[in-house]
């Protein structure tokens, strides 16, 4: 049985402010995440993927959205600026709208896609998947490809 708390009364403060309501809490359980795609891509059209499990502690409905750290940073790029076809998906039983299939990187980035966790936690695990695919008709530059994504939890 899962037992959770709605708006934890850790402490109750009485402040001299005309405020009405202040509810809910959210916490990323780790401060350091990455999705490593460990297996090398060797030939044209190769596909590899990786995933990371993220834990979000919360006591009310939460929305998760991905955004690019900088313009185009959601796409896997080499030091020479060559790119791989990049797609993502977010899955997990807590999500009301988990991805059933890979989502192109441009669509994955907010506001195109947002993910809703309607429950009240207390600990919802979601899995972020990333997939890289080499170009079908040419050889990509050799080297390490990286991307950068921001995940935002909001009310």
């Amino acid at each position: 049985m899962r037992e959770v708390c709605l708006g934890i009364l850790g402490c109750l403060l009485i402040l001299g402010v005309p405020c009405l309501h202040a509810w809910a809490v959210a916490e990323w359980a780790q401060a350091n995440y990455s999705v490593t795609i460990a297996s090398p891509l060797i030939k044209a059209g190769d596909v590899q993927s990786g995933s990371a499990v993220l834990t979000l502690n919360h006591d009310g409905p939460v929305t998760i959205q991905a955004s690019a750290a900088s313009s185009g940073s959601e796409v896997l790029k080499s030091p020479t600026n060559d790119t791989l076809t990049t797609s993502y998906k977010l899955t997990g039983p807590a999500l009301s709208n988990p991805d059933a299939d890979w989502v192109p990187s441009a669509t994955f980035i907010a506001p195109a896609t947002s993910y809703s966790i309607p429950g009240i936690g207390p600990a919802s695990q979601v899995t972020l998947w990333a997939r890289a695919q080499t170009a079908a008709a040419r050889a990509n530059d050799s080297g390490s490809y990286t991307a950068s994504v921001i995940l935002t939890a909001s009310w």
Binding site: C5, L12, V25, H58, I150, W155
Partner: protein, 421 residues
């Protein structure tokens, strides 16, 4: 006066400890509370509010965690996503009014910090304004090959400028039915969840005050018989002034072919009116056959599903509180069924010896319980110094199941005020 004070329910170390046990996590992280807050401020006045950053203790190897705070504008998209933007002077933006106590915070394990923020409302302001405090965790994910992640938590600040009030106004802009792309019965999926036809309704807030929309779709046949009724759900039922929001529901019941009226009703928290629309719907014999087949396919999983039921304990809340004192009360609410339930908790006063407004504040007025999930519902109780006597009310917990069926459970609440000595 009690009404003029803030009571902030803040997640503190109790949360940290409880969640650490539940998650069993040995990793670092930061929490933010509250996730949203509402303030009422008079034009020309300056008010303080707070945001707490929490670095819960998880283990001996925990390290200090840092975060950056900034004010951001936001807009909601039609499907309920949020777009965060640099602060501006947009018509509903409060960003330029808000000052953060500090832009960065570093916390040792087990520590939390309450950061004071100030909002100065211009004399000319009227209505509702919004901003977000974006808390960006200092550590970044790094990988040699793959995707590095940064994590943020956005805390909403909703400001109502006291004085001029604007009525809530809503209009149903669109109601359409989308059928899965099936051209013949042989195309039906044999495994997995069936893809149901879906009703999509767009509700527009045509006023200046935000509201939460609660919608229902009803299909009525040519003889006026209602054959289908279901709540319409959105990823974000809160609709800001001028915004539109998509609400959906799956048509997951076998219905005979024929002409129907699709009645959509939205409660948008107005005491005067509801939004209402009627649209014709024709279900062809092919579509009726598809529905029947999909209902048949889904039957095994539905057989395991029980009627939505709820169990609340204790069945009565009785407390003695000193005049001028405060304490917390709590209820445990359990969904014993197999369907997700939308719940609302409302304090309803009895005719005599009622509990005055503001004495009891449930931590959440609405919440969602997944199948077999339990929740504790804490309530902050604060009694004014001049109060006396015994006061009674009913806490009404209403649940709405996926088929729109409502249940109500009433929990008597009795507060006896002990005089100060």
């Amino acid at each position: 006066m009690w009404e003029n004070r803030t009571h902030i329910v803040m997640a503190g170390l109790a949360l940290a400890g409880a969640l650490a046990i539940l998650t069993g996590s040995a990793n670092a992280g930061l929490g933010v509370a509250p996730l949203k807050q509402e303030l009422s401020v008079k034009p020309g006045e300056t008010a303080k509010f707070y945001i707490s950053i929490i670095n819960k203790m998880r283990g001996r190897e925990d390290t200090a965690q840092s975060a950056r705070l900034e004010i951001m504008d936001f807009e909601a998209t039609e499907d309920g996503g949020l777009v965060f933007k640099e602060p501006s002077v947009g018509p509903a933006s409060a960003s330029t009014w808000i000052t953060l106590g500090k832009p960065e915070v570093t916390l040792d394990p087990g520590k939390d910090e309450r950061i004071e923020c100030t909002v100065k409302v211009p004399y000319s302001a009227a209505g509702e304004y919004y901003s977000a405090i974006m808390v960006t965790l200092g550590q970044k994910g790094r990988t040699e090959t793959g995707v590095g992640l940064s994590l943020r938590i956005a805390s909403g600040v909703f400001i109502t400028v006291v004085g001029q009030t604007f009525p809530r106004q809503a209009k149903i802009e669109k109601c359409e039915f989308v059928w899965p792309p099936v051209t013949s019965l042989s195309d039906l999926p044999k495994e997995g969840q069936p893809a149901w036809p879906e009703a999509t309704v767009v509700l527009k807030n045509v006023g200046r005050s935000r509201f939460e929309g609660f919608g229902t779709l009803e299909l009525v046949d040519a003889n006026g018989r209602p054959l289908f009724r279901k709540p319409l759900l959105s990823k974000r039922p809160l609709v800001f002034g001028g915004d539109s929001r998509i609400f959906k529901c799956a048509l997951d019941k076998a219905l005979p072919a024929g002409e129907y009226k699709a009645r959509v009703t939205f409660d948008y928290q107005s005491q005067w009116a509801k939004a209402y629309s009627v649209a014709p719907l024709t279900i062809s014999s092919d579509q009726a056959a598809i529905l029947a087949l999909r209902v048949q396919e889904a039957a095994p999983s539905r057989a395991a599903s029980a009627q939505p039921t709820i169990r609340i304990s204790p069945d009565k809340l009785i407390a003695k509180v000193a005049a001028g004192g405060n304490r917390s009360l709590g209820l445990s609410v359990r969904n014993t069924g197999q369907d997700l339930l939308r719940c609302t908790a409302t304090l309803v006063n009895e005719e005599e010896a009622s509990i005055p407004d503001g004495w009891i504040a449930p931590a959440a007025k609405s919440f969602v319980l997944d199948k077999l999930q339990s929740a504790s519902l804490p309530m902050a109780v604060r009694i004014p110094a001049e109060a006396t006597g015994t006061h009674k009310a009913l806490l009404v917990v209403e649940t709405v199941g996926p088929d729109g069926a409502k249940t109500q459970t009433k929990v008597p609440v009795e507060l006896t005020v002990a005089e100060l000595r």
